[in-house]
Symmetry: C2
Subunit: 244 residues, 2 copies
DNA sequence: GCTATTATTCTTGTCGACAATTTGTCAACT
DNA sequence: AGTTGACAAATTGTCGACAAGAATAATAGC
């Protein structure tokens, strides 16, 4: 009788913790919450209008992801990245993505290659439009496509974990914002697709590995680090001269 | 009101959540909590003598690790493994560990090689003594040594993540319990150490990759799966014929 | 005897409150 | 002036209780 006719209620497919997790996660990848930013439960509680329990659980998930770090006094911060972090990423991501690409060769279709070409064009458009966050997302989609084609859950999980823990999306968007290196990436993407078209496994593997190495080395060479080796991008909107 | 006379309490005031996390994590790797086993907050609450809040946070961490899975009705279970999970692990672990070994070549010392030889002997002893859990731990230590020598945090994190999410320690101990294949592993371990002694990077990389592939394929060929493809080891103490 | 519906129980999700810890401030003392 | 200690504010950790939803038991109807 009293069946609540939840007709217009689409916004309830996920648990509270999941929503908070996603929200903070997105805030970090988009740069709304910059690396090093303190996370205080009371503030988040007010933002989301819930009690602290689900906030705390969501933060635990982010902590496990490596997107949030905890200091000796239990205070939580958005992870900040060091030069060492980026250096460590290079061989691992290059190797995992090239493995994904190798496995994908067996499953890719001409149709899929066309889709990826279109995706590549979309990246170019987003870059031209100055939407660097979307650009990073599309770029990630491009890479993720090989993961999906590879059909290996362990691999998928491993790469996803690295992407999250090293704030990959944030890094990419910041990088796009500050440097005009999209053309190089797009060119390399096309090279990869060509190798796929030729069904040349060895070539695919090499191209993907080199692409990843190139991207990461470009990151490193063009990124500023402070005296503690922490990655320093220009904040999104920095009106005051946060001098100090 | 200071009812807690914690006199002999040197046990690093680790946080409650951390203690619970470790405790459950250990229970899973040792097989005390077998795959598929339901985790009920109220039971754990009684076991640890705390409220549900820290229990829930610990379970969130285990969930993020992939050691615990959640069904559509929010019920929590220890992760169970499928044939597909094991298959997916093979190329990824083989590749990551061989990368670790390659990076380790530059940092290894004759001293360290001797230590690893001793460790190998310890594994043999633990196996002979029938302590399969310890055996799995020591074996993991052997592999982890290369990780530490590699000095790459991203790589360390990636492998650790796979080890946790696929209940690697549990799998290994169960495998040791059921099959007498330690000799093959020990032999391969020695082969790897020889390659290290020769400083032959290519050989190290190949030996480690092959060792991982061998181990995982032995797992697969000698492991039972039920009709749903779920890994079925004989439970630690199985007196009744859990028929079906 | 069997099915449909209603209670009851079990389990998880969320909340507000209190305790413990850390940080910040300020006054007293050497 | 600098240091130290105590007090206050801020923040996190933990608790018990209630609400919501699903699984199970019980009952009514045929």
């Amino acid at each position: 009788m009293t069946r609540e006719t939840k007709v217009t209620e689409f916004t309830k497919p996920k648990s509270m913790v999941d929503q908070i997790y996603r929200s903070i996660s997105t805030a970090i990848t988009t740069g709304a919450l910059e690396p090093g930013r303190r996370l205080v439960e009371q503030e988040l509680q007010k933002d989301f209008g819930v009690s602290r329990a689900p906030i705390r659980e969501a933060i635990r998930l982010l902590e496990a992801d490596g997107m949030v770090v905890v200091d000796a006094y239990k205070k939580k911060y958005v992870r900040y990245l060091t030069r060492e972090d980026l250096l460590d990423n290079i061989p691992v991501l290059a190797m995992l993505e090239s493995l994904a690409a190798r496995l994908a060769v067996a499953n890719i279709t001409p149709q899929k290659i066309l889709e990826l070409q279109n995706l590549n064009s979309e990246i170019e458009e987003a870059f031209a439009a100055g939407d660097f966050v979307h650009c990073a997302e599309l770029n990630f989609s491009f890479h993720r496509s090989f993961l999906q084609l590879a059909g290996n859950k362990t691999l998928h999980r491993a790469i996803r974990s690295i992407v999250k823990s090293t704030l990959w999306m944030w890094l990419t968007s910041q990088y796009y914002r500050n440097h005009s290196i999209i053309p190089s990436s797009l060119e390399e993407h096309n090279g990869i697709l060509e190798a796929f078209r030729a069904q040349d496994t060895r070539l695919v593997e090499r191209k993907v590995r080199e692409h990843n190495e190139n991207v990461l080395e470009r990151f490193l060479s063009q990124t500023k680090f402070n005296e503690q080796g922490i990655c320093q991008f220009t904040p999104p909107q920095n009106l005051s001269t946060s001098g100090g």
